[in-house]
């Protein structure tokens, strides 16, 4: 079995979204803390693709940013290849380890500096990481990377606005690959793209993974997309992981009521005319999450225990599920 490349243990991240101090003083308002990520644990094995899915506000993007170091976790532990990244003393080692991971972002229009030529965009990691210094080295490597993502060497001279969304995303991928990373965090990389372009980019990412031996953490809200690229899938709701299983398991036998609800909500392209259980309610305000199990107000199987006690992730068959009803064998 492949070893864990990335490991998260009870990671949490709070954001202080209180009103300014003066307002709080004068209006007598309390501090407001948003628990964007609340006790998330999982591991990503070498060479696999782990997907995190969930609706808006579930914390999946925050998890991505915690991993690459754009935010510091408020709680918990993040380890990469055995090296602890959180609260580490040796900053130099953390930096060295962080070079082995890169990130691809959602918005192809905001992820490239509009004033930089494509060459400079892709060359930046080469320069910063000291992987190429002379102009000819950089030129050669940039051309190589552009070819890898299906673009032409002449494209290095152009500006981002001369490219379509899909092409820009390819440039972002080339930039991410420039540093020869082992691990790529992909934050909704195809959500802003048209369906046919999405197919191209997903295929490209699959090819690159095979060719370069990459490990992916793939964030998405789209279960159908994830079914084509993920080995294992984690379902998130209000900052917590509610189910973690292999893709095959998740789609054939979803355990958690929220997972079932999500799958039911995916539009039925096959037009089988299957009956769908009605979807109840909306995602509650993350500033005031329901007590106990965060999903209980919308859950058809909720009991008193669900209102009082937060369920822990437990093994259920080959999956891990955080649900009292599953644990009690009721569903």
């Amino acid at each position: 079995m492949a070893s864990a490349l990335l490991r998260l243990q009870e990671v949490g991240r709070d954001f202080d979204v209180s009103r300014p101090w003066l307002n709080r003083l004068l209006e007598g308002l309390p501090r407001e803390i948003l628990r964007a990520v609340d006790g998330v644990s999982f591991e990503v094995r070498r060479g696999e693709t782990l997907a995190l899915v969930g609706e808006s506000g579930c914390g999946k993007s925050t998890v991505a940013r915690l991993i690459v170091g754009l935010y510091e976790p408020s709680r918990g532990r993040i380890e990469f290849d055995g090296v602890t990244l959180t609260g580490a003393r040796d900053r130099a080692e953390v930096r060295r380890v962080r070079r082995r991971m890169q990130m691809i972002f959602q918005d192809p229009y905001a992820s490239l500096n509009p004033r930089w030529r494509v060459r400079e965009v892709i060359a930046e990691p080469l320069r910063v990481l000291g992987l190429a210094t002379s102009t000819s080295e950089i030129e050669a490597r940039v051309a190589e990377l552009l070819a890898q993502v299906g673009l032409a060497p002449e494209d290095a001279d152009k500006y981002p606005h001369e490219f379509s969304g899909g092409q820009r995303q390819r440039i972002s991928i080339a930039r991410a690959l420039a540093g020869r990373p082992e691990f790529l965090v992909c934050d909704e990389p195809t959500s802003a793209l048209d369906v046919s372009v999405q197919a191209q980019i997903l295929n490209l990412m699959t090819d690159l993974q095979e060719r370069l031996g990459l490990t992916y953490l793939f964030i998405s809200h789209n279960l159908a997309v994830v079914s084509h690229i993920a080995d294992r899938i984690g379902v998130m709701y209000l900052g917590r992981i509610v189910e973690l299983a292999t893709a095959e398991r998740l789609f054939s036998r979803p355990r958690h009521p929220y997972t079932r609800m999500l799958l039911d909500a995916v539009p039925d392209l096959e037009m089988t005319g299957k009956a769908r259980t009605p979807v109840a309610g909306e995602v509650p305000n993350p500033l005031a999450p329901p007590p106990g199990c965060a999903f209980h107000p919308r859950c058809p199987h909720a009991t008193e225990r669900c209102r009082l006690e937060r369920p822990a992730m437990r093994a259920a068959g080959e999956a891990q599920v955080a649900c009292h009803a599953v644990e009690e064998g009721r569903i």
């Binding site: 609706e55 808006s56 379509s164 969304g165 899909g166 092409q167 048209d194 369906v195 046919s196 372009v197 999405q198 197919a199 191209q200 997903l202 295929n203 699959t206 095979e210 809200h221 789209n222 279960l223 159908a224 997309v225 079914s227 084509h228 690229i229 993920a230 080995d231 893709a247 095959e248 789609f251 054939s252 609800m261 999500l262 799958l263 039911d264 909500a265 995916v266 539009p267 039925d268 392209l269 096959e270 037009m271 769908r276 979807v279 909306e282 995602v283």
Partner: protein
Amino acid sequence: MSEALLEVRDLRVEFPTRRGTLVAVDGVSLSIAPGEVLGVVGESGAGKSLTGLAIIGLLEPPGRIAGGEIRLEGARIDNLRGEAIRRIRGRRIGVIFQDPLTSLNPLYTIGRQLTETILTHLDVTAAEARERAIALLREVGIPAPESRIEHYPHQFSGGMRQRVVIALALCAEPRLVIADEPTTALDVSIQAQIIQLLKRLARERGTAVMLITHDMGVIAETADRVAVMYAGRVVEIGPVREVIHAPRHPYTAGLMGSIPKIRAGAARRRERLAQIEGAMPRLTQIPPGCAFNPRCPKRMERCLAERPAPVAAGANRVACWLYG
């Protein structure tokens, strides 16, 4: 066969720029029968939103209708201006836009926005308008409408706001509703709720719906017929089941192949999605002949020179030389 509620014939929308005239919608023809849901699907830049905007008369200048005609219940509406088109908008055609946040005026209560619209278009008293507004809110699934009618848009969640927008679109009892990406900005679980709501309302009130979206899944669930647009043209139009399961046009086939689908039980991992090479041409670079020819796996000589006209192919109408 009942007369079409909306008939669009050879619609042409142009944008004069200093570099020449851009044709964004090029000879689009479609029709919607009363009570029918027509899906208009296409990727970005295909011209579907502009078609919808042209019908409701909300094209932003310098864009303008440069050809063709649009008939609502037999009468032409594309040549109306100002007051005349305003009277049609709201009363006979309702509109739902993508972003519920900007579709509602944040400064007024939703009750005020609803009653104002009702009073503008229907001949009722203020009290009656309020009754209608409350009934409508109940119909779209807003709980406790009598109290929520006094709330402001920001006090509603995204899904609830979109329900209010739907109520607003329906309050003057239009015969046709044009919905431009009504569920794109919403979460998947809310999307499903809104789709069900639209379907139910259309059926109960006999309102026709033109559903513009890039999401084929939404079309599959909601529409009766669907028109597939590419580079400002309609390439295929027909019953939803036919277009989705037996697409005739190579673009439609490619599109359906590239949509990721969940198939429970099978190992889907690393199974490549069918992809269409290249990208939709920009408005300034539409090739002669069939706009899809550079990317078409079934391209023939004729496709490079002549633009195909729509012909019948089974239950669909397709603009493709494979069938012409």
